[in-house]
């Protein structure tokens, strides 16, 4: 054995490994900013609520894409399902937001489970196309079922009751805190999953699916499980948007939404749980800035930025932070 092996005693490695799932202080940062934002930007809380719900949506994509390596262009299918379920409940007299949220999550999970059980038997490009097909099918179904969904006009007339006694106000105060709370709970669950043996096995599937089969892992069931959980998260996100804006349109199911959330996550960084927290605000700020400078072709600039990120900054904003930290560490 080499010297290195003697220095690296068993306990030190065990400890390093055992510490990994413990909370570290930078992880409190999004929540400090989240709560601080409530007091610092009272005029932007309605927008803030949208950002928070969208972060949850991006987080749901990170679970399937970043951990299990399932590339999806159809995540809006679950987002839209959650939004329409919450919307329909509120239109038909069930306005209590938290139970609606849970029902929306269950409905989206069911859609994820049923279609995942079929399409997750395929891989790569076929799977990518099938996720897209499922999304477009649901969108078209919602478009045609005008008597239920309002079709292209969208679903209006939602009556959402107060959440825990606080009614949704014009300034978005309740909406903001409600979304922040929901995101926090989902983040806790996602974090638990990511650090669990199940989460590690998802990483194994992403890293090398062939070896996962060879070590006896039930790969299909693992993928289906995370796909279902991710669908539930996306459903909660959609329901949050529906409840806080009190409107559901066909756009919630659109392919554009699936694509956009993917871009947000890639900008922030895939497979690290926090990419969503950076990517979504970053995208929204950039969108705002670009649209101001170039109101017609702003999307071109987003596209250009995405190309630059993919070519030069793999790992997105988070990857850059990592590199900067390593560079600082070396030069200390």
């Amino acid at each position: 054995m080499t010297d290195a092996a003697e220095r690296l005693s068993v306990p030190s490695i065990v400890d390093a490994f055992a510490r990994r799932h413990r909370l570290r202080w930078p992880e409190a940062l999004p929540w400090v900013i989240g709560v601080g934002g409530f007091f610092v930007f009272p005029d932007y809380l309605a927008l803030g609520a949208q950002v928070l719900a969208t972060i949850l949506f991006a987080l749901s994509v990170d679970l399937v894409l970043g951990y299990a390596g399932i590339v999806t262009l159809g995540q809006a299918a679950f987002f839209g399902t959650g939004a329409y379920v919450a919307g329909l409940l509120a239109v038909h007299g069930w306005g209590e937001p938290i139970t609606s949220l849970l029902i929306a999550a269950a409905a989206a999970a069911l859609v994820g489970l049923v279609n995942g059980a079929i399409i997750l038997r395929t891989h790569g490009l076929t799977l990518l196309m099938l996720t897209l097909v499922v999304d477009r099918t649901l969108e078209e179904a919602a478009n045609k079922a005008t008597s239920i969904t309002g079709g292209a006009d969208g679903l209006s007339g939602m009556q959402v009751s107060p959440v825990l006694g606080f009614s949704f106000d014009l300034y978005g105060r309740t909406a903001y805190l409600y979304c922040l709370g929901a995101l926090f709970v989902c983040w806790l669950i996602a974090r638990r999953i990511v650090h669990s043996p199940f989460g590690r096995s998802l990483t194994g599937i992403r890293e090398n699916v062939q070896r996962m089969h060879a070590i006896g892992s039930p790969v299909f069931w693992r993928r289906l499980t995370v796909y279902t959980i991710s669908a539930a998260f996306a459903g909660v996100s959609g329901a949050l948007i529906a409840e806080t804006t009190q409107f559901v349109g066909l756009g919630t199911l659109s392919f554009e939404r699936s694509g956009e959330i993917l871009i947000m996550l890639i900008l922030g960084g895939v497979g690290r749980l926090y990419g969503a927290f950076i990517g979504v605000p970053l995208y929204m700020i950039l969108q705002d800035r670009f649209a101001e400078v170039d109101p017609v072709y702003w999307y071109f600039w987003i596209g250009l930025l995405l190309v630059l990120v993919v070519v030069f900054a793999r790992g997105g904003a988070f990857g850059l932070i990592d590199r900067a930290a390593r560079w600082l560490g070396r030069n200390r």
Partner: protein, 252 residues
């Protein structure tokens, strides 16, 4: 010959379209065997491994593990019963540490890998077992390093460590020293020699030094079928083998 073979195939056939890549293969791997499978490129050795492990389905024939039929079982179920393989092309979780590569295997073996709640790092005894396993293969110092940062020759040992973490009864080593410079292949041979005697080992190999050093029996495959089986001495002396295979490269 003992009563039950560790692994046995009977009339195993596989066609890819009109091409017959496995032609009625009858094969026996005895308990605790050190058996080599050799043959020229394209003889169907890797196809045979893929059939036995369940990566591909045979068109005909049966596969028996310790006497019970596993032909219909999934790859994962076969692994659970102790049929484990390694890969010719290093097939590891390159972005994870060496320790965690082994831990993933241990998690599947011990049945907690599907747990969604209890953190992976909280199972101290399992981590210690993984570390001890790496120690036995002489790569404990690599434990905290990412696989992709580990030297290739040592990655080949991680490849074996992951397989051993599953407590195999039958271990299929697909070219364990592939791509390793001959100066380093000695370490790999040494580690294979030290494997617990109760594990039945089948080595698929091109390297004749390795085969004749490790194997007590050798099976020669040609064009999807078994040409001949025997002891190393018999194989080395067999004129047919010399013609199809060893003729290209005279054994030392």
């Amino acid at each position: 010959m003992s009563a039950t073979a560790a692994l046995e195939t009977r009339g195993l056939c596989k066609n890819f379209g009109a091409l017959r890549v496995a032609n009625a293969i009858d094969f026996r791997l005895e308990q605790g065997a050190r058996h080599a499978l050799i043959g020229p490129n394209g003889a169907g050795k890797t196809t045979f491994v893929n059939l036995v492990t369940g990566a591909i389905r045979p068109n005909d024939g049966r596969i028996l593990l310790e006497g019970s039929d596993i032909t219909g079982l999934s790859q994962a179920q076969r692994v659970k019963r102790g049929l484990v393989r390694t890969f010719q092309i290093t097939t590891l979780f390159r972005g994870l540490t060496v320790l965690e590569n082994v831990l993933l295997a241990l998690g599947e073996r011990l049945g907690y890998a599907g747990n969604l709640y209890r953190p992976a790092g909280s199972r101290r005894e399992v981590i210690e077992e993984a570390f001890a396993l790496l120690g036995r293969l002489g790569i404990a110092d690599e434990a905290p390093r990412l696989v992709r940062e580990v030297a290739y020759g040592r990655q080949r040992l991680v490849e074996i460590a992951v397989a051993l973490g599953l407590n195999p009864k039958v271990l299929l080593l697909d070219e364990p020293a592939a791509g390793v410079p001959s100066a380093e292949s000695g370490t790999i041979i040494e580690m294979i020699e030290r494997l617990p005697p109760e594990i039945a080992v089948l080595i698929i190999e091109h390297d004749m030094d390795l085969v004749f050093r490790l194997a007590r029996r050798i099976t020669v495959m040609v064009q999807g079928g078994v040409l001949v089986e025997g002891t190393p001495a018999e194989i080395a002396a067999d004129p047919r083998v010399r013609q199809v295979y060893l003729g290209e490269r005279e054994p030392a």
